[in-house]
Symmetry: C2
Subunit: 295 residues, 2 copies
């Protein structure tokens, strides 16, 4: 599979996710219209939807129907969108732009942005527990538990806390890895877990795919750090150069060291996928895409 | 049942909720210790735990075991605690005190408070989907869906949005009722719904109890408005007088009108409980307690 074919597949799936979310997100009507408008602003029309794509790519290994993969991926993207709104707040990273447009708290105001994030988190769980996700109760419960753990204090929120404190912590490589595994890794790992749950994967398949997810998440962060050093804001669609002085993989490993680590991760991830042979082509190509992306 | 006996029962149940949460909330260890400390600060040692008590009082009508009622009520209290943290933020109500101590964003900082709220919401759903809640998958899923809907854009978050905009909306009584039904009513209604789900209540019982919950929530808000006019901050444990100039029930009905509305709600709620005869003593007394509380 070529990188171009993968990009086309990513793009097509992102459009399907957006169309699904467009129908599910509440309309901006009534007295609370600004809340719903801010939710739509932050959750629609942006992002490559890599997490949702990953749910689908893993679920496809087990011939899961399209609809549950799409709904689960969409819920995960709402959770991700909420985290971006809150991360961008002045009290947090104080970011001005996100996905090529003003951050939610600038397009609306801080109070509305905080509430929009809160409501998007609730909506993500509503989707996983609701009738739109056509799965049995056991699977719904497992997906809810997995997302809650990935999003909570031992996952994404815990990672964001460490990131905020990182300047004063003097983190070594193990510390940075732990930060990454929580802050960005937890949701990517969950995407793989969700695909396994939907597909009722056996233990060995599941273990390999979660390990793949961990490596993909780590590669994603390292390539993000490289983009921050090398990228330009217009192409990236968010503020760059923010990481200067922060402990990052590039800061600790250097550019060449970070690139070597990416290669090593790619090789290990490829080996993990051997058990799925050519059925894992999408996951293989996705890993290369994450490493090579220049935007 | 006397008001004093109810207070004792409330107090005992609040202690059980706190002990349960104490064991479940993450320890303040490791690099993200401040997050976990802020979660504990905001979620423990305060509050009458009326919502958790209500879950139990409704579930008791159907002889539900103590443990599922306690766990469900505790999850609901975490959701409530998160909403208080975020409501108190400078960009929202900018409150200084909560439950008799400095608001979370003052005891810690804004970023930590935002994250603590986010993580408490995730933890609430983790409890409802996790193994600590000893219920079948169908009940777990229904509880998760109910809480997510109560917390999201059509519930609590939507209500908070309207509250923030209320000064400019010139709300009439119907508008204030809608605001209340979402902002504070949704979680109280969910407490009743949760008790019904745990107890597999029949449709008629469920309808009566949800209606009771709506009336209790409305009475709770009206009595809160009265407290804001009459109370003093030390006894109430949070800022008072904040509602001056805002559209409230007391502002629209006057003190005497608000008191008459409370009486009418009490009478209607009492009639709704007739079907449960003396088994509903706790719920009857609770309604009176909410109306008569002076703190």
């Amino acid at each position: 599979m070529s990188a171009r074919a993968l990009e086309a597949a990513l793009h097509a799936h992102a459009e399907a996710v957006d169309a699904w979310l467009e129908a599910v997100l509440p309309e901006p009507r009534g007295h609370s219209a600004p809340l719903n408008a801010a939710m739509r602003y932050a959750a629609l029309g942006g992002g490559k939807r890599v997490r949702a794509f990953l749910v689908k790519a893993v679920a496809d290994l087990f011939d899961v129907a399209d609809e549950p993969s799409l709904a689960t991926g969409a819920a995960l993207e709402l959770l991700h969108a909420y985290s971006l709104i809150h991360d961008d707040l002045p009290a947090m990273d104080d970011a001005q732009t996100r996905r090529g447009k003003p951050a939610c708290h600038l397009a609306y105001d801080q109070a509305t942005a905080i509430l929009a994030g809160d409501a998007l988190q609730a909506l993500a769980f509503e989707i996983l527990a609701g009738p739109l996700l056509e799965v049995d109760d056991r699977t719904s419960r497992a997906l809810t538990l997995g997302l809650a753990r990935a999003a909570g204090p031992a996952g994404m929120c815990g990672g964001q806390m460490v990131d905020l404190l990182a300047d004063g912590l003097d983190l070594d490589l193990a510390g940075i890895r732990e930060l990454q595994a929580k802050k960005t890794g937890a949701l990517i790992r969950f995407a793989c877990e969700a695909g396994c749950l939907l597909g009722r994967a056996g233990d060995a398949d599941r273990e390999a795919l979660l390990d793949y997810g961990d490596k993909l998440g780590l590669a994603f962060q390292i390539s993000d750090d490289l983009l921050d050093v090398r990228g330009d804001a217009a192409a990236v669609g968010k503020d760059v150069g923010n990481d200067a002085g922060k402990a990052t993989f590039v800061g600790l490993l250097g550019i060449a060291g970070a690139e070597a680590e990416l290669k090593s991760l790619h090789s290990k991830a490829s080996t993990l996928l051997d058990r799925f042979a050519e059925r894992a082509t999408l996951l293989r190509t996705l890993f290369g895409f994450v490493i090579d992306r220049s935007y």
